[in-house]
Symmetry: C2
Subunit: 332 residues, 2 copies
DNA sequence: TGATGATGTGCATACGTATGTCAATCTAGG
DNA sequence: CCTAGATTGACATACGTATGCACATCATCA
């Protein structure tokens, strides 16, 4: 049924290996023969079998990308640039949504159907990186990383990001400050909160337990937690959200409850997703080059794959956060 | 380096084929032997090579998904359910962003590295479906479909959706009506506009060229086209947008220009993305079961793959649209 | 007790490509 | 004109799994 290199060889009057070499541009095959082979291949509509090639070269030119919730508006902005950069470098992308069960020893990643993995989903205590290391499967952390670190990673300086938000809030005169953070099990959740806490503490401002809410990086976390935070007395005048999606959830909760932003409440997000700039939200947030970060992760991974362990140490690319002041903050 | 079934065979004291059979649950191998093999495999951490299996079975348990712009907020809601259903049925997902160049004869789809394709990106005149058919590559249309149809597809009744919007606008007393539609080259763009036109015409209302704008299904299309539409005299009092993302763009343009929605302008979208229900937008729109549609597409494709052409005719699943009236419309 | 069938395992091979090795042909230099 | 080297292509084989087929073992029944 399917056309193989043998069929091409027969038609071109050469051997199968010659077909392989001719099509791959091996200089040992003469121009005349190459022409003939190419012509035969085109005539038959020959497309080399990827499985055959993989088996022979022990390489798949495929990369896995692990994410959690695909419908979270954040991920597309990671996946888009990743896909493009991988494609540019000759790799294809397989998408894996994280399984709820043991993330360790995921057979899907170990059957040699991919050359490497982008982990965009790591929790600090996951066993997956260790497992991948033991198996010699190249990987890179994107956005989040695991605890031990010591691996390739492309991340934001989350702690600095948290700091800069706190400092701005203090500068604006806020004293009653709260946070709706991401999960403590993620570096993006933990470190943003950490930097925020540190900077507040340095300004002599506490962050009591009642002023701290946490949840997944989704709309619901912001939407569902704002009211409880605002019902405390004294009510916080500013809330830092662990990412833009949470902030947008909080913004909508404020709208629902008749809380005016920024008049009654200052809200700050993190990520500067395109939608943060929409008039509807006009969200003050923390920006970093998400696009470059994803692209860089693809680059790190491909280099690791092709570098055949020839790479020294582990490379950690840290992107600087910048405060973007739009319309959801206000001096107190 | 990597553990193969031969290694397992040696350790278990059986032949390689027996390992294969034992691990795949072939009933011809005795329970005792199976135990021994499983134990050896576990001890060595054996994971079968996907390339070897593919080569042997001529099957990859992999499905390609073609999309256009990954960062469009619409696609995640397609990809998410697709991924989950494919996984549930034992398939993995490869993600392909459409190339700008010739979509026809895409080698990435023809190297037998996937068992089938979900086309979520089809334009009415694409040559890709024909090419895939000729090659015997199973595929299914999702959301959009090509002109000739006659293939498996999971789509909304776009024309009915357009109709129901027009009828509602007429009922609300609007007479000066405009549309910001999707591309004419897509069935989602074309048919929604068509149904809208028909229903308006039946009510004796025209849709002159000046009241029609078109563009890609993105934020910018709504954001960039609303002002020109409203500057016409008489200005339209209602605008139907080809999808929610366009509508949200238009909504933001209205906000920018001080046009009050729904007081000054009625806006209707299409898709009912989760974000359409957010307080910020409170968008009146057309709902259909996007989740079920994506899931159904996965099902159609897998059945087509595994049915080995044993399927009669072509199956076209059409999901009914329902008007969801929220806060962006108003009687005239 | 010998034939029959059922059961369990090994042998051989297919799948399609890539590449190391070797042979054949050709070119050029002495 | 002969030989060394370069060029070109064929041959053989590896890659890892799955499966048709043959064979061996064992129980069963007449």
């Amino acid at each position: 049924m399917a056309i193989t290199s043998h069929d091409v060889a027969r038609l071109a009057g050469v051997s199968q290996p010659t077909v392989s070499r001719a099509l791959r541009g091996d200089k040992r095959v003469s121009e005349a023969t190459r022409q003939r082979v190419v012509q035969a291949a085109t005539a038959l509509g020959y497309v080399p079998s990827e499985a055959g090639r993989s088996l022979s070269t022990r390489t798949t030119k495929r990369v896995g990308v692990m994410v959690t919730d695909l419908t979270n508006p954040f991920y597309p902005h990671l996946i888009g640039p990743l896909h493009d950069e991988l494609e540019r470098r000759g790799y294809r992308m397989m998408l894996f949504a994280e399984r709820s069960e043991s993330a360790a020893a995921d057979e899907r990643l170990l059957d040699r159907s991919i050359d490497g993995v982008v982990l965009a989903t790591a929790t600090v205590d996951t066993a997956l990186p260790g497992e991948l290391s033991r198996r010699g499967m190249p990987f890179v952390f994107l956005n989040r990383e695991a605890a031990g670190a010591g691996n390739d990673a492309a991340v934001v300086d989350n702690e600095a990001g948290g700091r800069v938000v706190a400092e701005e809030l203090v500068r604006l005169g806020h004293r009653d400050i709260a946070i709706i953070a991401g999960p403590q099990s993620t570096t993006t959740g933990r470190d943003r909160e950490l930097g925020f806490r540190y900077a507040l503490a340095e300004a002599g401002i506490g962050l009591p337990a009642g002023r701290v809410r946490r949840g997944p990086f989704g709309f619901e976390t912001g939407y569902g937690n704002l009211a409880a935070l605002l019902s405390q007395r004294p009510a916080p005048t500013a809330v830092f959200c662990g990412n833009d999606v949470i902030a947008i959830g909080a913004l909508n909760a404020a709208m629902r409850d008749g809380v005016r932003v920024p008049d009654d409440l200052t809200l700050i997000g993190f990520d500067d997703l395109p939608m943060a700039g929409w008039e509807s939200f006009d969200l003050s947030t923390v920006r970093y080059d998400l696009n470059a970060m994803a692209t860089a992760a693809a680059g790190l991974l491909v280099e690791r794959i092709e570098g055949a362990d020839g790479l020294d140490g582990n490379r950690r690319l840290v992107f600087p956060p910048v405060l973007v002041l739009r319309g959801t903050h206000r001096a107190r």
